[in-house]
């Protein structure tokens, strides 16, 4: 799912609840990959395991946003997320919105996932959660 082997390792460690080891990898890559959509997705998985549900949602939303903002990817030399990760990110976000019982956002995200086009969701996001932004990252 990840192009970076270490990211695959971190993913497996998080899934196996080996959070200290996973955190060590995340810390190691933070300075160079802090805005990488795959890194942000891993961070969101880590945050939800450490009971920081809203920070996990914000981070997964930022991952989606960066993955769909070419200027940021280009500036940092990052690649887009793989198809497999994109789907898992949608499923993760849907499960998070189910967890906080927000059926409106679950519906919107399910449609977005089906259409494979997050443009209108991201525009809506700017209105309802203006802090999930990239204003200083461009």
């Amino acid at each position: 799912m990840f192009n970076n082997t270490e990211f695959n390792n971190a993913y497996n460690l998080i899934k196996n609840n080996e959070l200290n080891e996973a955190n060590n990898i995340l810390i190691k890559f933070r300075s160079s990959f802090f805005l990488h959509p795959d890194y942000l997705f891993l961070m969101s998985l880590f945050l939800v395991k450490s009971k920081r549900i809203y920070l996990a949602i914000d981070t997964a939303l930022l991952s989606l946003k960066v993955d769909n903002t070419d200027s940021v990817l280009k500036k940092h030399g990052y690649e887009n997320s793989s198809e497999e990760l994109i789907e898992e990110r949608y499923l993760f976000l849907i499960s998070m919105f189910e967890k906080i019982k927000n059926s409106e956002l679950v519906d919107i995200l399910e449609k977005t996932m089906k259409n494979k086009n997050p443009t209108s969701f991201l525009l809506y996001l700017e209105k309802i959660m203006p802090g999930i932004c990239l204003k200083n990252k461009l």
Binding site: K51, L55, D58, I100, M129, P130, G131, I132
Partner: protein
């Protein structure tokens, strides 16, 4: 002991970049808004406030209240040659990322806001609550007389605050004032702000921008409005041990809590009194800790 409030001293006259803009904004902000809280914590110590470092002798100790200290290393280096001991109250540093090692090493003791677990094991650092801003009202509205069930006043940056508004929208009457920026142009003035809080049974307290603490927690405690606190990673059990605050990880828990309690007036009064008593005791313990460390 002498005390110098340094946040608003030697600020640039003209702003030429974002860093200078931050120094001026936060320097003046803390001078105007944080002084009642900090001076309350220091109220057990006999203090003489000074405006400059003139007339200090090298057998004196001094308390400095400051922010953005990473940009003021030379000030602290010079000061360490002028006085015997420096006690620092370090405000701000919400993300914990400010450069501070050199300045901390020059101080006998540091009290800093925005607790992080890694400071727990450092002998000469204590963490204090960020406290309330400006002066809070002296009279409290009785729980049964309050106008609003809940309030939220502040920015709506991420999913937590969005969900907070979503989950409590049908609990009326309530008061919200949503702003674009911290202390931005749509913010209420201090007296209106405290009037709303004083008149709310509950104040909803989401996570801050980087850190779980926000001023509204301590402001609601001062007003006698019951704070319902977002508690990621059990932060508030760690930082404020044995506190009786209602804590949640998801805002649906908060709306359920309010629905379950709103008509049980006796229980609400009991909870409110329990929280008030705890907060009064906690502040006294903090004051004693300042006295103990200063060895006064």
């Amino acid at each position: 002991m002498k005390l110098l409030w340094n946040t608003n001293k030697n600020l640039p006259d003209i702003v030429t970049n974002i860093a200078e803009e931050r120094i001026i904004f936060w320097g003046n902000y803390h001078f105007k808004n944080s002084s009642p809280w900090i001076l309350n914590l220091l109220s057990g110590i006999q203090i003489e406030q000074v405006d400059s470092l003139e007339n200090l002798s090298n057998n004196e100790d001094i308390i400095i209240v400051d922010n953005l200290i990473g940009l003021k290393e030379s000030f602290y280096f010079e000061l360490s040659n002028k006085v015997r001991k420096i006690y620092l109250v370090h405000l701000g540093d919400e993300g914990g990322s400010e450069k501070k090692d050199l300045v901390y090493s020059l101080c006998e003791h540091v009290w800093r806001t925005f607790y992080l677990p890694n400071f727990r094991s450092t002998k000469n650092i204590s963490c204090i609550p960020i406290g309330y801003k400006s002066f809070v009202p002296k009279t409290k509205v009785d729980t049964n007389e309050k106008k609003y069930i809940w309030n939220f006043m502040g920015t709506t940056h991420g999913s937590s605050r969005f969900d907070l508004l979503n989950k409590h929208a049908d609990l009326n009457p309530h008061f919200t004032n949503l702003t674009g920026d911290f202390a931005g142009k749509n913010s209420l003035d201090t007296s209106e702000y405290y009037n709303v809080m004083n008149n709310s049974i509950f104040t909803l307290v989401p996570h801050g921008y980087f850190h779980p603490e926000t001023y509204r927690l301590y402001e609601s405690l001062e007003c006698g409005s019951i704070p319902i606190v977002e508690n990621p990673h059990n932060f508030f059990e760690d930082f404020l041990p044995n506190n009786p605050l209602p804590k949640i990880t998801s805002w649906v828990e908060s709306s359920d809590f309010i629905k379950n309690h709103i008509n049980r007036k006796e229980e609400l009064n009991k909870l409110s009194n329990k929280i008030n008593s705890w907060w009064i005791v906690h502040k006294e313990l903090l004051k004693k800790e300042f006295l103990r460390i200063n060895d006064v």
